[in-house]
Amino acid sequence: MKVTIKSIEYYLPPTTEDGNVLKKENPDWSIEDIEKKTGVDVRYISAPEQTATDMAALAAEKILSSGLQKKEIEFLILITQSPDYALPTSACILQDRLGLDKSCMAFDVNLGCSGFIYGLAIAGALIDAGLVHNGLLLCSDTYSKYIDKTDRTCRPLFSDAASAALLSSSDHNDIGPFEMGTDGSGFNNLILPSSGTRVNDQQADEKNLFMNGSEIFMFTMDMVPKCVNALLDKSGTQMEDIDLFIFHQASKLVIDNIIRRLNLPEEKVYVNYNQIGNTVSASIPIALSQALQERRLKNNDQVMLVGFGVGYSWGSCLLRWSEQT
């Protein structure tokens, strides 16, 4: 796709939680063992009154404050599973709050950890088709609001965060190809049961996020290597040609397992889950932004982005990083 990422910003809420907080509230938890397996030392928690839309606006404003003309933003895509309302669409609220032109198209995409890849594909297709030239791809979630304080599976993993990427048309093919997939048979292994209109569900009384960690782990162990290899085949690229792999920052157990199964050199895999946690759809763009800040990416480097999770849904794509962006 003749599309490029011109800039990436992110927002983390000011409140953090570490193992000491978890231990104090749940004295029976073996925090050292949990942290050893999840790899997560610190997580970010949104304030009670702060929503994913609020955080997405803060991330987007970092891009808009760089001198960009707001009328140049022709689309706003918000990837979220924590909308302010079932309706209206949070992206519509953001169009107004950010002061974007009324000619701007705006819509939400309800996807989790694969969302950034899907957002790139959708936005890239819109740009490639000539419908638009510039726009914002926002990812924001507040899973912490869905998690019971005593949930030892979910609470030590998930963080709240938002990211904003400015996508623009380009003279060269910076993004693609893509490899995407779906397996809805796993829908109830990561679910917020009583969050929609289905009321005759066995889990309908359950108000909190439910994750079957073993099933999700088996899914990642099986599907992620296949997704990576399929993208390499599709693009005619060798593993050695990839300068940096950025996987969804699920957890240490998951990332380490992917590294082992694909026999990847650890130095080619970017990780930040230890200091950020699992930020759902924002995890890949935040990792990309931090990799740039840390100069882990150079001009013309080839990056593979891989998102996977709730749905089940997964996607991967190649990204040629251009300094000119």
Partner: protein
Amino acid sequence: MADSTEQEIVGIIGNALKIDANSLTAESTSNDVEEWDSLGHLAILRDLDKFYGGKIAGIKEMAQVDSVGKILQLLKNNSLL
């Protein structure tokens, strides 16, 4: 891969749970073993997959087995033991 024996598998499970494998029997379940919580089960899956060179990922039932005996039986059913 060397031929695996039940004893080796029990050793892998004990190692994954960071407990003495001698304390485990075929009847040991995730309810009986404190260390066998959801994260402990992930460690078992990881280490068995490592031992079997990636063959565990394709056995979906492995996610839900909750006893040593059931793990051994599932491995036998899949001709891994």
